[in-house]
């Protein structure tokens, strides 16, 4: 469904040159959920931005559904690939009601039947028609993130890119949103690419996980490896230790990678 091969991104020129993504390759089959995990500056979000088309200065190959995508995307691309952002407060237009936000993509792609589509997708994300004419500031963080999911779903895409979809939410809300994402994936047979810094979230959501550091893939593991701790790379092991909570003795063993 999605194939990324030797993706490279370089920001800046000369002395300020920053090789943000180095030879990153992975594939995700239809219905798969692929995780990208790493710390800040690891390039995980940059990879996502290249796939989505927000970034144009990349080299390499990105294939969606067997056909390569180019730097300038065709309108049909946006009906196949959609994205959910991290910050539920920043990803909705503050002056548009939920109704306006959800009808916009329908108008862009001239799909018609807007009212029925909006109604259905709102129900699907568990919000219902009561929320339809509210402004974002009348919603809680979790509700906003549900709207963001609804907006991604309304074009009926096949791939959804999730950029830290729950890291700005309280843990109880995170659980609800993660459950929602799982349900929708099962129902619609969607392909997910999930970016997160949280190993537990990635392990809960994804089958295969690429661990990234400083723009490079450290290793690609499956979740069973994560659970059993049979990891090849020291970096991944350190990340796993760190995600298990505060342990004074272990911290002294930490290295910079």
């Amino acid at each position: 469904m999605l194939r990324v091969d030797r993706l490279n991104v370089i920001f800046g020129l000369g002395a300020a040159k920053n090789h943000a993504v180095k030879d990153v390759s992975f594939t995700a089959a239809r219905g798969d959920s692929f995780g990208l995990v790493g710390e800040s500056g690891s390039g995980k979000s940059t990879v996502l931005n290249c796939i989505s088309g927000l970034l144009a200065n990349w080299d390499g190959t990105i294939e969606v559904d067997g056909s390569p995508v180019f730097h300038k995307r065709h309108m049909s691309f946006y009906r196949k690939v959609q994205m959910v952002f991290q910050d539920p407060y920043g990803s909705l237009h503050p002056r548009h009601t939920i109704d306006q936000t959800l009808k916009e993509p329908i108008a862009i792609h001239r799909l018609g039947d807007a009212n029925r589509r909006v109604d259905r997708v709102l129900r699907e994300v568990g919000l219902g028609p009561r929320f339809r004419f509210r402004y974002p500031h009348q919603l809680s963080g979790g509700q906003r993130q549900r709207v963001a999911v609804a907006r991604a779903l309304i074009l009926e895409p096949e791939i959804i890119l999730l950029d830290e979809p729950t890291s700005a939410l309280d843990v109880s809300i995170q659980a609800e949103v993660l459950n929602l994402l799982q349900e929708i994936r099962a129902e619609r047979n969607l392909t997910y690419v999930l970016v997160s810094h949280d190993l537990a979230v990635v392990s809960h959501m994804c089958d295969r996980i690429a661990v990234m550091n400083r723009g490079e893939t450290v290793e690609i593991i499956d979740r069973r490896q994560l659970q059993s701790g049979s990891l090849k790379e020291r970096y991944t092991r350190q990340l796993l230790t760190a995600s298990k909570g505060y342990d004074r003795a272990a911290i002294d063993q930490f290295q910079d990678f």
């Binding site: 109880s172 537990a200 909570g245 911290i251």
Partner: protein
């Protein structure tokens, strides 16, 4: 209550709003010694407001009432603003979430730490500088002389937060309130910063109030945990007995976390109960 470092009784905070007053903190009482105590809750639980109310750092329109807020035998409510300034810094210090907003962007970090020391101690500039460098070393900055001359935008997030801690600890406070001090940092850096805090607290015999949303982290780091919801204390538990807690809110918070070795089943969601907000005022805790 005399041997407590800080004792808060019946603290209430409310904010006026066009739709009526909002109670941010309701009848919160706790007491602590020289220990690491965690305040955990979701957004809107009143955990940050509680920390700020102790230091009287809330905006003037906030209505704060309390039976008492006693720090080392003095009721902070009875102090004048001038006396309060003496408490802030040398008595109780506070570290906030984002060092970018807490450091003055046009002064070198060294100068800011030095000034933090000079406010509370009348010493020569040379001595203050020595203290500042020593403090930078204490937060394990490898090249303090170099970092001393850097501006805040030239340091990374993790180093910025260490500098903040250095600045807050250089007046040698008796109690440090850390409000989500590491939430903006990567996990490994977060743990390293916590280790520094931990070491300093135990070396100096300070008290620490660690405010966080991360229950698992707090339980592995602190001695006792105060769990807050809707402005009230749900329960106070010893950190090592957290997983034995029977309070439905605590259990709910623990259960809804995804786990690395968990199965793929839907996560149990937290069912909130309005009855939690109506329970009688909780009793004063004794160490």
């Amino acid at each position: 209550m005399d041997n407590h470092l800080l004792s808060v009784k019946n603290l209430c905070v409310s904010f006026p709003s066009p739709k009526g007053a909002v109670d941010a903190v309701r009848h919160v009482s706790f007491a602590m010694g020289r220990e690491k105590i965690g305040i955990v809750g979701e957004s809107g639980s009143g955990k940050s407001v509680t920390g700020r109310a102790v230091l009287r750092l809330l905006p003037p329109y906030a209505r704060v009432t309390a039976g008492h807020i006693i720090y080392q035998g003095r009721d902070l409510q009875s102090l004048s603003e001038k006396e309060m300034r003496g408490i802030r810094g040398r008595g109780i210090s506070m570290v906030m979430q984002d060092p970018k907003y807490s450091l003055n962007p046009v002064r070198t970090v060294g100068r800011q730490i030095r000034e933090a020391y000079e406010i509370n101690h009348t010493v020569s500039r040379h001595e203050a500088r020595r203290q500042a460098l020593e403090m930078l070393e204490a937060v394990r900055i490898r090249n303090p002389e170099q970092v001393y001359h850097l501006y805040p935008h030239e340091v990374s997030g993790g180093m910025g937060q260490r500098i903040m801690i250095a600045m807050m600890l250089v007046p040698k406070p008796g109690l440090l309130i850390a409000d989500e001090p590491t939430s903006a940092l990567d996990v490994t850096v977060q743990l390293q910063v916590l280790a520094i805090l931990d070491d300093l607290v135990s070396q100096r015999g300070m008290g620490l109030i660690f405010i966080s949303h991360d229950l698992e982290l707090v339980s592995s780091f602190c001695d006792r945990i105060i769990i807050m919801y809707g402005g009230r204390i749900m329960e106070v538990v010893a950190a090592d007995r957290l997983h034995e807690s029977s309070h439905p809110y605590t259990r709910g918070l623990l259960n809804c976390l995804p786990k690395i070795d968990g199965d793929r089943k839907p996560l149990p969601t937290l069912q909130r109960d309005d009855a939690w907000l109506e329970q009688p005022e909780n009793q004063e805790e004794v160490i």
